[in-house]
């Protein structure tokens, strides 16, 4: 069986062609690696695209840190600073972590883990990737147009985002931003439809829903949430385009004055956009974070050598989180002047999410109970995720409580909270996945020593950066500020900002270690066997790297995905596929 390794994503097609149901691997470089419909190739394409975009997003982060810590240097102008922050946020959320984790690993893992040969609709899958590429390009192009890139924040609240008079970036830059987002939404919706259909319809024999790994469950819930939440954002984006270019007034009230010019708009309301945006925006954060949690469960089970604690309960908790996440969007708008009683409802609903989320947290921790932990790099990243989720999640409680949010809203406390969750948890989930599933991608292992270095250069500095931002928020420092030094109550925070910046530079440097490790190991890393971690789920039932068509025979799932330490067996794991 070992001979099968060497066939796969980046090597010659396997000798399994002609097998019933699988079509032969396509020939030719372009067909095989560029316009491929193979879910593994597409997954890798997403991952690499995300890494390139991460270089941009990370570079922008460095620029932010220089400006806020040393405002007197004035490395950028105020208008550029706003563009930098807006583009950093947008690129990181939609074009880095969504792409790497949800689109990248979702594509790569779902068919392998449910024992399918590909996605339900491979062509749609390729189309979805080739929709995101122009999206990335449009987004980047915005830096070079007149007025600069969009500068209204990643939340793009009108009137700021609707009127070129309001801020220079609201010219062509904002239009490109909206078009790029439209392409992202189209791509993500295609991907989501494909995930749901694949998971419901294409599972291997015996792979019942309750035998799917938690990562697949989380990809599934995340896809459902995405499909439900994105359409209202599409509506908002179209309406915003109308306000910008057709003279409509969906979001613009009468009597707006810039300088002494009174605009002709009339009858709209800016709050409508906020409702539509957050109806998407809030579920979107769970769309991204849930796969990271699922991956943590998978990785912890494999390296802790015991089944995850509370599999079924975790599934139910996840479904509950998904449901609740659709009805809490108003917690971003506590101080927007919404009816206080409505705000109170949103507050009650929001903080109730901490209950099912804590169930996931406890289950992750309890999965270490009476375990036999192997401290691989993938595992230490997964352990780090627990700590970061705990920290960021408990911070969310200060914001979810409507009265304390009055103080924390739009302060660095919020910035710290969401970076821990949407930034650090998801990145660490992506990293854990890379280290864990690298064998299935390239037939090799990533370097463990560089991996450990990468872990320490990620966990320590990133925690420092974003926890310290909570302190800044507590002291009243506000976000999206080019320069805090003018205010007595904010000027002190600049000293802390310098400390944060040093940690941030370390964190960014640490990511370079990862890039080196990733590319070096893909070419030169130690060869991996079929199942190097002695794991139990279906993706390990095939060669490393996984060949075109995924499995030599039609796989059958004979038990749950996590039968580690089965009682009465000599071996400490019982793979899903063995009789």
């Amino acid at each position: 069986m070992a001979e099968r390794s060497g066939s796969g994503v980046l090597s010659a097609p396997a000798a399994h062609a002609g097998h019933a149901g699988a079509h032969p691997a396509p020939r030719g470089f372009l067909r095989r690696y560029v316009f491929s419909t193979d879910h593994k190739v597409i997954g890798l394409q997403y991952l690499v695209t995300a890494m390139l975009m991460a270089l941009v997003g990370g570079g922008l982060a460095a620029l932010i840190r220089v400006q806020v810590a040393w405002p007197t240097l004035a490395v950028v102008s105020p208008e550029t600073y706003l563009s930098v922050v807006t583009m950093h946020g947008t690129i990181m959320v939609f074009f880095v972590v969504s792409l790497a984790l949800v689109s990248g690993f979702g594509n790569f893992l779902i068919p392998l883990q449910i024992g399918a040969r590909d996605m339900a609709y491979p062509l749609l899958n390729a189309l979805s990737y080739w929709t995101i590429v122009p999206g990335c390009l449009l987004m980047l192009l915005a830096f070079f147009v007149e007025g600069g890139a969009a500068a209204a924040g990643w939340t793009a609240y009108p009137p700021l985002s609707a009127l070129a008079e309001a801020v220079p970036g609201s010219g062509l830059g904002q239009t490109l931003w909206l078009l790029a987002m439209a392409l992202f939404i189209a791509s993500f919706t295609m991907g989501g439809l494909n995930y749901i259909t694949t998971i419901l319809n294409c599972r291997a024999k015996g792979m019942t829903l309750m035998r799917m790994p938690l990562s697949v469950w989380m990809f599934f819930v995340s896809a459902v949430l995405g499909v439900l939440a994105f359409p209202p954002l599409t509506a908002a984006a179209l309406m915003l385009l109308g306000d910008r270019h057709l003279g409509t007034s969906f979001f613009l009230p009468g009597g707006l004055v810039f300088g002494e010019e009174v605009l002709a708009h009339e009858g709209g309301t800016p709050l409508l956009f906020q409702h539509l945006f957050w109806f998407l925006g809030h579920p979107e954060v769970y769309v991204i974070v849930l796969p990271a949690v699922g991956i943590a469960f998978d990785v912890i089970a494999a390296h802790a050598r015991r089944p995850p604690f509370g599999y079924r309960i975790s599934v139910w908790a996840t479904l509950l989180i998904a449901f609740l996440s659709m009805i809490v969007w108003g917690h971003h708008m506590y101080v927007s002047g919404m009816n206080p009683l409505v705000g109170e409802y949103f507050s009650i609903a929001t903080v109730s999410i901490t209950a099912p989320f804590s169930v996931l947290g406890i289950n992750l921790i309890a999965s270490l109970w009476r375990a036999k932990i192997r401290f691989t790099t993938a595992m230490v990243f997964a352990l780090g995720i627990i700590s970061v989720i705990g920290t960021g999640g408990l911070g969310g409680l200060y914001l979810g409580t409507s009265t304390s949010d009055i103080y924390f809203h739009d302060s660095y406390f919020v910035v710290g909270h969401f970076h821990l969750m949407i930034g650090v948890v998801t990145l660490m989930g992506t990293f854990a996945a890379c280290y864990h599933w690298f064998p299935k991608m390239f037939g090799r292992l990533m370097d463990e020593r560089l991996g450990k270095l990468h872990f320490w250069l990620t966990y320590v500095p990133m925690m420092a950066v974003f926890v310290l931002m909570h302190y800044q928020g507590l002291s009243g420092m506000l976000r999206r500020y080019y320069d805090h030094s003018m205010y007595a109550f904010q000027a002190e925070g600049i000293e802390l900002a310098r400390v944060i910046s040093y940690f941030a530079f370390a964190a960014i440097a640490g990511q370079l270690v990862f890039l080196v490790n990733f590319s070096w190991s893909a070419l030169r890393g130690r060869k991996a066997s079929e199942n190097p971690w002695e794991a139990t789920s279906m993706e390990w039932n095939t060669a490393s790297p996984a060949p075109h068509g995924n499995f030599a025979d039609d796989p059958v799932a004979r038990r749950g995905p996590y039968e580690y330490a089965p009682p009465g067996s000599r071996q400490d794991f019982a793979p899903q596929w063995t009789a």
């Binding site: 009137p159 309001a166 004055v257 903080v351 921790i365 375990a371 401290f375 230490v380 320069d483």
Partner: protein, 280 residues
């Protein structure tokens, strides 16, 4: 099954688990200690602010305990089960699993809903429910990038303002000369005087984009939405000078949209106000 070389051997000695456990414990201790020694908010200066601070203090204690506990257990498990024993434990019983699901659900429901509904209630009431008797009423108008303060003057009535009349230099509020209520109105650029110990009711509106009226010492933050007439209320409890900042991204000058508050005795405020030129 093919052989499984190499990888599991990556399990190292005690070094890494110990380091990891130490990191988790250090993280938890440093965070809590840091809040204790350095976690300072700007000195409080409003009545309802005490209730908001109470909520924050409650959350610091409650989440602090969970935070320490979580990291402690995590570190302990990492150390205790680092490659120990013959093999891992198989599935826990459904009962154990349900029990350990119920614990966090109960704890978090009580802790978080308690925070919103019980600890947070006084603040909510003072901010949104109570209607203060005899408040000091002022209007704040936000525009790129300054705060215009509009006092109703002796008659206690705000004059009409209209967008077409806005003129940056002479009449930034767009006050309508024909309205009889306008004559005694007073406006300033970013100079807000408030009486100490008297409830303040502020009308909020914006001329161009969204701004957010923020005074950290008062624990006040409220958006100004164009097209809406917003409001906020609070009661300054000590005299002094404070800064108004803008908390909602509003364009290039967002960071320098600063205003000034001076809280004084009512008589001083009245004296100052009568020294100002009326609008027309």
């Amino acid at each position: 099954m093919s052989s499984s070389p190499a990888a599991p051997a990556a399990a190292p000695g005690r070094g890494l688990p110990a380091l990891l456990a130490a990191a988790f414990v250090a993280c938890a201790l440093l965070v809590v200690l840091g809040v204790w020694t350095h976690g300072r908010m700007p000195a409080l200066a409003s009545r309802h602010g005490a209730s908001i601070d109470a909520v924050i203090r409650y959350l610091l204690v409650a989440t602090g305990i969970l935070f320490l506990l979580g990291h402690g257990v995590l570190a302990f498990f990492v150390l205790r089960y680092a490659g120990a024993g013959e093999r891992g434990s198989p599935h826990a019983s459904a009962r154990t699993e349900w029990r350990w699901a119920l614990v966090p659900v109960l704890v978090m429901c009580v802790l978080s809903e308690g925070g919103v509904l019980i600890v947070g209630l006084p603040a909510f009431r003072q901010l949104y429910v109570d209607t203060p008797a005899d408040p000091w009423v002022v209007e704040i108008v936000g525009k790129q990038f300054e705060w215009l303060v509009h006092y109703p003057g002796a008659d206690g009535k705000f004059g009409e303002s209209r967008a077409e009349l806005v003129s940056d230099a002479r009449n930034p509020l767009g006050l309508d000369k024909k309205d009889p209520n306008v004559a005694d109105d007073v406006w300033t650029r970013g100079q807000l005087r408030l009486p100490v110990g008297r409830p303040v009711l502020i009308r909020l509106r914006a001329l161009d984009v969204i701004h957010s009226f923020t005074v950290p010492e008062f624990r006040v933050k409220q958006d100004l939405i164009p097209g809406f007439l917003g409001r906020t209320q609070f009661e300054p409890t000590r005299a002094g000078k404070f800064e108004i900042a803008c908390a909602e991204l509003c364009g290039l000058g967002h960071y320098r949209m600063r205003g000034f508050i001076e809280v004084q005795e009512q008589s001083e405020v009245d004296a100052w106000l009568s020294d100002q030129d009326p609008a027309f």
